[in-house]
Homo-oligomer: 276 residues x 2
């Protein structure tokens, strides 16, 4: 079993030092709770509700920034895997909505969000590479960011590449939903897990930032498609860890029965075209 | 608004005459309730739990069988769209797990299930053509069958081809699920609707057939991803209609916001390959 912890946080836009301390303390808390994998929200170091591309750029850091080296130190010291979002200043001078994956060997990957949500299109350059799929000591992991998860083609290719646990730093804007329903993003995470027999861990943020309320519904879904741990989601602050023990070996077997296998049963030649 | 009705039924394996009456009476009941679209379960005319390919073949009918002509008469008389499953005897002598879509113009399409579940692989030949997408008086409709819905590549291409309402005749075998959870198949239907902004109507069956319990969780999901009507699902018989008024115009607009559009935001060039 693998102990996975999603830390639901409330970073402050533009407060790099404060967000740095917030993330460090969240990682430390997860370590104390025995976590082997820690997921932090999207843009946890910069905050989200930028007023302009210039403000996003001012809050961007390069992947060799000392904060990510601090995370790498913690990962090495505690045999930990950490994924978290940050505004990335690229070598090309552009700003990306990125996520770092760090393990005891250091910075393993920086993934640049492919599907930019709404006004992110005004602030960021979209990524141009598919998500990394990384062999780690707990199994094969991948990372995507927030709205990426709503594109089933993307989560499918990540699963087909062997991902056992998909890490999803996210900032889910609070939207209306019927009473008693989970947020739609959680429903999608559950369906993604089920259809691919792959675990999914979403670290959401909470609070209200420049008028934008966040959903606060961090959720860990097992490879069986069922929620293993979740925050209920609320407009009030719901800070802190969501932790579950996940059996990632489940994700290695795509069979429901002797004769049903969600990967082998695909009909890829028929997915390419359809006459309307 | 379009009045959609999924009829949850309990056909008897091998009883073509009884199942014919069952389906006719279910269609008549839906007409009385003002339905414009009626969905019947997978294999509603043959039953499901075959003991052999021979038994499946014996219960197969060709698409020009008088039962489908009866459905077409009803459709013409009541300005109705009907989708329902049947074991099809193909011109090639093979047996298919098919669904007919009938409207006032007659038999519009016969779709052969692409993804055969479990022992269906022993009984049926898989289809070789993608689902039809049909312009009808209520909008653009498509049809898939049961396990097909668990392949997000398939539901995506159907949505991209303009489908506003996806009809899903189904036979969901009852599986264990955590207390308070909807069946996983319903979670997938909700995610499919949300990710594609396309309504989804699943007509399930109920009861126990040769030892196989059925889920009995027929569900209609709006293009907004929320359940509009559902059967709770139970091991006991839960027969009858699940009816909802659905706004299919919602499915014509793929935008969440001015700057977020679930189709336009796709990155197809990046879905093709991924280095593991």
């Amino acid at each position: 079993m693998t102990r996975v912890c999603c830390q639901q946080l409330d970073p402050v836009v533009g407060d790099l030092d404060g967000n740095r301390r917030l993330a460090l303390s969240a990682i430390a808390e997860a370590v104390d709770a025995g976590a082997e994998v820690v997921v932090l929200p999207e843009l946890v170091l910069s905050g989200y509700m930028f007023e302009s591309a210039q403000e996003a750029a001012r809050n961007a850091i390069s992947p060799d920034h000392e904060i990510l080296r601090e995370w790498a130190d913690l990962a090495r010291r505690h045999d930990l895997i950490i994924a978290g979002g940050f505004a990335e200043r690229g070598d090309d001078g552009k700003t990306y909505n990125s996520a770092a994956v760090i393990d005891p060997d250091g910075l393993r990957a920086v993934y640049r969000k492919l599907h930019l949500w709404d006004r992110e299109k005004l602030w960021f350059e979209p990524g141009a590479e598919p998500p990394p799929v990384l062999q780690t000591r707990v199994g094969r992991l991948s990372v995507i960011v927030c709205y990426d998860a709503e594109f089933p083609e993307l989560t499918r290719i990540v699963a087909l590449a062997g991902t056992q646990l998909l890490l999803v730093p996210t900032n889910w804007p609070l939207m209306e939903r019927p009473d008693g329903e989970r947020p739609a993003e959680v429903v999608i995470a559950m369906a993604t897990a089920r259809a691919n027999r792959m675990a999914v861990a979403c670290a959401d943020r909470t609070g209200v930032e420049r008028g934008q309320a966040w959903t606060g519904a961090s959720t860990i879904v097992g490879a069986d498609g069922w929620v293993a741990a979740e925050k209920a989601g609320a407009e009030v602050l719901t800070l802190g860890p969501v932790t579950a023990e996940i059996d990632l070996r489940q994700a290695l077997d795509k069979r429901y029965t002797e004769l049903a296998d969600v990967f082998a049963d695909r009909r890829p030649a028929l997915y390419a075209t359809l006459a309307g």
